[in-house]
């Protein structure tokens, strides 16, 4: 009985392995997908420009604006490094570029930062599309791009996160070039370079590696992936073909090593700390980041407040499970299972590995696994791991593309059904992006109970972006109800978080005062972090920012007691 059952299974595995192969672009679905990708990218461009001003500043921005100015002074002032420049564990490329753009910008530092951040994010979307297209054809590119854009927690960060989004962009481009190299070297041997488009490829690879490392030094893991995959491809060729076939890859090794050296030099040139001390600088930066203990504030997980240096192993998996759209997670998990099974099958059958797919699996799973095993300091939910969402979306999209192609082979009904499911998912997520705008970073999926259930139980609005909308609403309320006073006095405002949230989001007649003086303040204005929504609930609610039934921020009148029942409703 084993043989008849095994044969169909073997055919299925062979067909599956075949489906992971790079594809010729002649399928009508692929032609349609390429056109649709251009439409999606164009629409995104327009939406980004139209909504850029809606996104408020975040607490990460001010230190990076200051850092960028100091770095610019370093390069233009005879390489004299301030303490901040000498000691920073962050690469300076984005902040330096932002400082340069500020010199010509007609807007303030934050809005200018948002323009650059959105631009870098668009480069990341482009990289995601290209990675998906490389691994799973045009349909994979379209679906990978769509899965990423329809992930609200990622979408929202694209406008005002000067660290995690540039890093995510560098990471996805690094993966794209590594995947191209591994896939080409696995099949082409001596002609690898020609199939990659010539020597310019190594320049692009070096740039992508530098881009991946120039914001967070952790991007050096791309070098690890690169060396690992070139080594594995070399071993595969020796094992499947011959040792001489493996030896044909020496130009690939040479180009790889030169690209790494080039990328490293670019990194040194753009990062003063490394430039001043090329030997110890990188090492100490990596040590600082990987053993980050400078920050230990409470973070939320399922209603429990936990020190960020002692988060349990399921902190990251939980946040990914509840903040990614359900279909994205399902496609990703099934994609990982499929690639793993087919990889084992290929190994057993002495067949070529699906290197592009395997790289995606590694690129998504390894960083959080490392953080979990190492017990890294974690807070702000999955923010520090936003960089794995583009490859995760690509893998999910690539798996969905496989399903769609399989459905197309079974007839129009199946194809229509599959397209219907994806269309419903897309429409639902676009609606979620619209509903939560511009606070998409605080999205929680339906399965978790949504944002309303996450407030006070998980990290929701931790970034301070809500203060822009909240400040505008408060000012309008005060102007409408206290007009005579408005013109002739200043109002004291207390609240949680950086005083920058108040100084930059309120006009000058609203003056920030520290929380210890909150009793003397006219208004208490706060976001959802650190249990701050629970304070002063006995004071009258002036206005609030709500999304999906959850309160992201409130403003309360400190001089007026809330009427009975009103405070309960405002929760």
């Amino acid at each position: 009985m084993i043989v008849p059952l095994a044969a169909p299974a073997a055919r299925l595995f062979d067909a599956g392995l075949g489906a992971l192969e790079p594809r010729p672009l002649r399928d009508p679905l692929d032609v349609w997908a390429d056109r649709a990708s251009l439409v999606v990218l164009t629409l995104l461009s327009a939406v980004v420009i139209a909504t850029l001003g809606d996104y408020g500043l975040t607490y990460d921005e001010e230190p990076h604006i200051r850092y960028g100015e100091r770095v610019l002074e370093f390069y233009t002032g005879g390489f004299r490094a301030s303490h901040l420049v000498r000691g920073s564990s962050y690469g300076a490329a984005f902040d330096l570029l932002a400082a340069l753009v500020r010199r010509i910008s007609p807007w303030d530092a934050y809005r200018t930062n948002h323009v650059l951040c959105a631009f870098v994010a668009e480069l990341g979307l482009l990289g995601t599309w290209r990675l998906g297209r490389l691994v799973a054809g045009p349909l994979g590119g379209l679906l990978g791009l769509s899965f990423l854009v329809l992930t609200p927690v990622y979408y929202g960060h694209q406008f005002n996160n000067p660290k995690d989004i540039p890093f995510a962009t560098g990471y996805v481009w690094g993966l794209y070039f590594i995947a191209r190299l591994a896939m080409a070297a696995s099949r082409s041997g001596r002609d690898t370079l020609a199939s990659l488009g010539g020597r310019r490829f190594w320049v692009w690879l070096a740039l992508a590696l530098a881009l991946g490392m120039c914001v967070r030094v952790g991007g050096a893991m791309l070098i690890g992936y690169l060396l690992l995959f070139v080594a594995l491809v070399t071993l595969e060729r020796a094992w499947i073909e011959s040792r001489s076939a493996a030896r044909e890859l020496w130009p690939v090794w040479l180009g790889t090593l030169l690209s790494i050296a080039g990328g490293w030099l670019l990194l040194l040139a753009s990062w003063p700390r490394l430039l001043l001390d090329p030997v110890h600088g990188p090492q100490s930066a990596i040590e600082t980041v990987s053993k980050y203990k400078a920050y230990d504030s409470p973070t939320l997980l399922a209603g429990r407040s936990i020190p960020s240096q002692k988060v349990p192993w399921d902190y990251l998996p939980t946040y990914f499970a509840i903040q990614l759209p359900e279909l994205t997670t399902a496609c990703f998990v099934l994609g990982v299972a499929l690639v793993s099974a087919l990889s084992v099958w290929a190994l057993a059958r002495r067949r070529r590995q699906p290197w592009g797919w395997l790289l995606l699996v590694l690129a998504v799973l390894l960083p959080p696994a490392y953080a979990i095993v190492r017990g890294s300091t974690l807070y702000n939910g999955l923010r520090h791991f936003l960089f794995i969402i583009p490859p995760l979306a690509v893998l999910a999209g690539a798996f969905a593309a496989l399903l769609l192609r399989a459905a197309a082979r079974h007839g129009r009904v199946w194809l229509g059904l599959a397209l219907g499911v994806l269309g419903l998912f897309g429409a639902d997520q676009v609606w979620a992006l619209y509903r939560t705008h511009p606070h998409q970073h605080a999205f929680f999926n339906r399965a978790s109970g949504g944002l309303a259930r996450a407030i006070d139980r998980y990290e929701t609005e931790y970034y301070g972006a809500v203060y822009q909308e909240l400040g505008d609403k408060l000012v309008r309320e005060v102007w409408a109800k206290r007009r005579d006073e408005y013109l002739s006095r200043t109002f004291l405002v207390a609240g949680c978080g950086s005083n920058l949230f108040f100084k930059r989001n309120l006009p000058q007649n609203f003056q920030f005062t520290a929380m210890r003086n909150a009793g003397n303040a006219d208004y208490y204005v706060t976001y959802a972090r650190d249990g701050c929504l629970k304070r002063f609930r006995d004071r009258e609610l002036v206005t609030s920012v709500q999304r999906d039934g959850g309160t992201l921020g409130v403003a309360r009148d400190m001089k007026r007691r809330a009427r009975a029942g009103a405070s309960a409703r405002a929760r």
Partner: protein
Amino acid sequence: MALWATLLGVAPLPIWFLVQVAIAPPAAWRGEYRPREASGPGAPAVAFERQLARYWDRNERLVPGGADPNAFSARWQACMRVEQARDVPVMLVANGAASFALDGAELLRLPPKNTRRSAGAVLHFPPGLHLLSVELDSAGWPSIALQASFDGGPPAPIGSGRVSPGVSITPPGPGTSPCSEP
């Protein structure tokens, strides 16, 4: 395909940004700055300020041209055209001695105190070209804003789109307004 994707998906944002840079309104306020202790003769540092409303609006630190940022006095002037007679709520906020004058007549004044204070009134603007003048005498971290409500909403800084610095950077003679029709 990659080229098209780049052109459609990435290029529009920097192009849009550069267009914004190119079409940004010209300098709106004419600023005169002098060190606070200087009481004798001497020309003040003069600059046309394109971004003044930004300091007034977003609490960015005021950087007076050439003067000590922690102790200086300043005077900003601009011309504003009003098409139809209207009443406009105007307010001045500052943490030093400050005043606001319309066509040479001082209408709002803040005493020299270290705390931030504000003064405001609903002012009548007859049709025509008006000279707005704001003065600040600051010690310590300066903070000042002139805000007005032209649309019924909360007062906002009077930005580059509404005013112009007049025809010349040279100070007007006594009794004459720098504002004149272009």
